[in-house]
């Protein structure tokens, strides 16, 4: 093969560097930006787009923006007025929750954050116990801390709740409560030998999945009072929460069903052959596996629900967006709606983007764990 003129021993050809056009900055630019006339055009067009959008945005957001001051007069009209956000920060975060009681929310935030990080962090011990605590004890503790009325804490009515705090309450309660309902519904939908139960579950799931959340919230706010026996009444937040729960339980059921279907038939058969009863085989063999598979799906449902909680402002609750909307109409601070929206958008974006990255990471981990 190789001609005699080769100046190396066969089998010991050195690794050479590729031609200049292949590597380095130039090679990269050639391959990824300028590989064809069309790509040249697209690259220049993209650069143009960036040129016209990004610098003005940076100017407005940072350079021309006003950061320090107390009143609207401290704000020039060139850039963003972050003073506005500063002034209304407490309302945007907590609504009208009394100042001297904010520690109740903050301390639960800290406990919740520690618990979550513990659960999310790879390879920590006692995850099971922390999980049980977060799912069962923590919500109860939150209830007593937030609404008060016992343990010497002053009672704080829900109309005072608001801002990001309310958004988190609705989203978290919605997802935590919908999980068990969703599991039951999914199991019901999968049960082959009980047509009546199956029909009821399918009907329930498809009903809530087929209508927009806003009609559910309307229903919760105008129809629930009619459903209840006379004299019995819940406050608006509870009604909204029930609506959100029913709604997200239906979506959760479908996520869990996906997990149940992904479990190989052999697992069901193995459980049967061990002589486990239906409930035992579900609780010990099937559900633990199925729920693990669907964690990314649950996180995605949570993202959807988190964004959807903004709808509660339509029935008169002041969540994060609702609060921004409310303070924007304050006569002393008219004309800063954009700042409010940008701030709220940023808040939502950080949460949603973070969670979606986390769920992607989980998905990849699951995939590699299963396949290779």
């Amino acid at each position: 093969m190789a001609d005699a003129a080769q100046n190396h021993i066969v089998g010991e050809h050195p690794d050479l560097l590729p031609p200049k056009t292949e590597v380095g900055v130039w090679g990269w630019m050639y391959h990824n930006l300028f590989s064809s006339p069309l790509n040249n055009f697209l690259t220049f067009f993209g650069l143009f787009l960036i040129w016209v959008t990004i610098p003005p945005m940076i100017d407005w957001l940072f350079i021309d923006a006003d950061w320090v001051g107390e009143t609207r007069d401290d704000c020039g009209r060139e850039g963003a007025c972050w003073i506005y956000i500063g002034v209304w920060f407490k309302q945007l975060m907590y609504g009208r929750y009394p100042d001297e009681d904010l520690w109740r929310i903050n301390s639960m935030y800290i406990i919740g954050a520690i618990g979550l990080i513990w659960l999310v962090w790879p390879n920590l011990k006692y995850k099971g116990w922390i999980g049980v605590f977060m799912l069962f004890l923590f919500p109860v503790a939150c209830y007593f801390m937030f609404s008060g009325g016992s343990f010497g804490l002053e009672r704080i009515e829900t109309p005072l709740w608001g801002g990001l705090f309310l958004t988190l309450v609705i989203a978290v309660v919605g997802i935590v409560a919908s999980l068990p309902i969703g599991i039951v519904l999914a199991l019901g939908r999968q049960s082959k030998n009980m047509p009546v139960i199956r029909a009821i579950c399918v009907g329930f799931i498809e009903l809530w999945r087929g209508v927009p959340l806003i009609t559910v919230l309307f229903m919760a706010s105008v129809m629930f009072p009619l459903f209840l026996p006379e004299g019995m009444n819940f406050d608006k937040l509870i009604r909204a929460l029930v609506g959100v729960m029913l709604f997200s339980a239906a979506y959760m059921a479908e996520v869990v069903r996906g997990g149940l279907q992904a479990i190989p038939k052999g697992q069901y058969e193995a459980a049967d052959s061990l002589g486990l009863s239906y409930w035992k085989s579900m609780a010990l063999i099937v559900l633990p596996q199925a729920l693990k598979i669907v964690i990314p799906g649950i996180v995605n449902t949570f993202i959807g629900l988190f964004k959807d909680t903004t709808l509660v402002l339509i029935i008169g609750l002041f969540d994060f967006l609702g609060m921004a909307q409310a303070v924007a109409t304050n006569p002393d601070w008219l004309g800063f709606a954009v700042e409010g929206y940008v701030f709220v958008a940023f808040g939502f974006w950080v949460f949603c983007f973070g969670m979606s990255r986390y769920s992607q990471y989980l998905e990849e981990k699951l995939h590699t764990g299963h396949k290779r």
Binding site: P195, I197, G210, I214, T215, F348
Partner: protein, 475 residues
């Protein structure tokens, strides 16, 4: 049970013995189901009893009689040529709301699909910058609540605009059609010649072809020269006059409304004929290819038939169409048509938001076609265009269409956020205003939900049908 089956003669089969009924799974299932059913019925009866009692004590009537009562409120905008006044009934309110929902959803689906496909394809581009720009779009837009985006467009962009007197105006040239047609035709011919001589012939003869930039510059120069020559010869320029035609202000976007004149119907017919003809051309081309192997540029021909033919007929029938331009009279615009700020905000937010999801679906669909498919198609000598058309798109569409339809459904359900900025969709005018006035919550919410449920049912029926039809045959 344990009897050896060989010992049982064929005609005497021994039935397996039955377990006691409380241990029999079949009985247990029935018992359990009866229990649940009774529970559900009792709960439902409890709710119904309470509801009836509550309605009676609050003096709310029941039944659907209210649908024929006079509504007594007006609705800001109606579509599909429906007219609505305060004297109309609640039933009509329902119809108008429903039509407004359909109207905004229809346009939303249209725009979101186009934008979503463009961004999805951009995301897959080999151009790093383009791909990253698409990624930034997707990751930003889909992680911000839709309602916030609607508010942004409405309260931050459109409502703060100046009033009609301070409108942002956009002028459009009124084009001299004769000039345009002559220039376009002559230029097209010239550019084709240029390409033929400079690229095609040389390429076929294995000579170095004219570089692209030279072709582009030459084409531009040719068009400019021809345009000016035409102006000189005919004595009139390309632009007859500039006309202020679009006005954007806090009451919406006013735009010229095309008004067909007598004879425009022919153009309409031409479109119909073009569509039918294109269909037949396609069939003919397929048949001819099957028989002789020769290929026919079906796409170009269809384009010519569906757009070109009506255009030619439109021109030769004496341009029977004029525009009614909006005019500022007093404090408002008369003439033309207007898109309300509510509609624009809702439409833009819905389209941008849904497009970010569609883009991901498109990307996933195309990625789902393995690279091996493209390689195999290349290896047998197919070119880029047929590879796309015959191998990639048919496979990608199977993956894309089901989630795409559910995005359409989501868009339609999301259009209910209209209520937050007072676009008069079904939720606002029916589940909102009508409910408030009549108090008949049960009937109204049920009707509103039924609308969306029907739609979901239709779409999921379609999806099941499609999935069944398209499922790849496996063993």
């Amino acid at each position: 049970m344990a009897a050896d089956p060989k010992q049982v003669s064929a005609d005497v089969s021994v039935p397996p013995s039955k377990p006691a009924f409380w241990n029999d799974p079949a009985w247990r299932a029935i018992f359990f189901q009866v229990l649940v059913l009774v529970g559900v019925v009792v709960f439902a009866a409890f709710l119904v009893r309470n509801t009836l009692h509550n309605m009676e004590s609050r003096g709310i009537s029941s039944g659907f009689d209210f649908l024929s009562k006079t509504a007594g409120f007006s609705i800001g905008e109606t579509h599909f040529g429906i007219s609505y006044t305060e004297e109309n009934s609640y039933g009509k309110t329902f119809i108008v709301g429903l039509m407004n929902t359909i109207w905004v959803s229809m346009w939303g689906v249209f725009l979101a699909t186009i934008l979503g496909f463009i961004i999805g394809v951009m995301r897959l581009s080999t151009n790093w910058l383009v791909s990253k720009l698409a990624m930034v779009y997707i990751e930003t837009i889909r992680n911000i609540p839709l309602l916030l985006q609607i508010f942004f467009w409405y309260f931050a962009i459109l409502r703060p605009l100046p009033g009609p007197r301070g409108s942002i105006q956009l002028s459009f040239p009124i084009i001299n059609f004769t000039h345009l047609i002559i220039t376009v035709l002559v230029s097209a011919a010239a550019i084709f010649l240029l390409w033929w001589i400079g690229v095609k012939k040389r390429y076929d003869a294995d000579q170095k072809a004219m570089p692209l930039w030279m072709l582009v510059i030459a084409s531009v120069v040719t068009v400019l020269i021809i345009g000016n020559v035409v102006s000189l010869v005919t004595g009139f320029g390309l632009v007859a006059q500039w006309n202020e035609s679009f006005f954007l202000n806090n009451r919406g976007l006013s735009y010229p409304q095309p008004i067909p004149e007598e004879g425009f119907a022919i153009t309409g017919w031409a479109v119909a004929i073009g569509v039918v003809a294109a269909f037949f051309v396609r069939r003919w081309a397929k048949k001819r290819q099957d028989e002789t192997g020769e290929q026919f540029p079906v796409f170009l021909a269809s384009l010519g038939l569906i757009i070109g033919l009506p255009l030619v007929i439109f021109i030769f029938s004496g341009l029977p169409l004029h525009f009614d331009y909006p005019k500022l009279t007093g404090f408002n615009f008369t003439g033309g048509s207007v898109l309300t700020p509510e509609f624009i905000s809702l439409l833009l937010a819905l389209s941008f938001y849904t497009a970010s999801f569609i883009a991901e679906i498109v990307r996933a669909g195309i990625n789902a076609v393995s690279h091996g498919q493209t390689e195999a198609a290349r290896a047998v000598g197919l070119r880029a265009n047929p590879i796309l058309r015959l191998v990639i798109i048919p496979q990608a569409l199977r993956v894309i269409i089901p989630p795409l339809t559910s995005q359409y459904l989501n868009l339609t359900k999301n259009s209910s956020l209209a209520a937050a900025i007072a676009y008069p969709d079904i939720v606002l005018v029916f589940a909102g205003t009508t409910l408030m006035q009549t108090g008949q919550a049960v009937e109204i919410i049920a009707m509103t939900m039924a609308v969306y449920l029907t739609l979901s049912l239709l779409i999921s029926t379609f999806m099941n049908w499609y999935n069944e039809k398209m499922a790849l045959v496996e063993r």
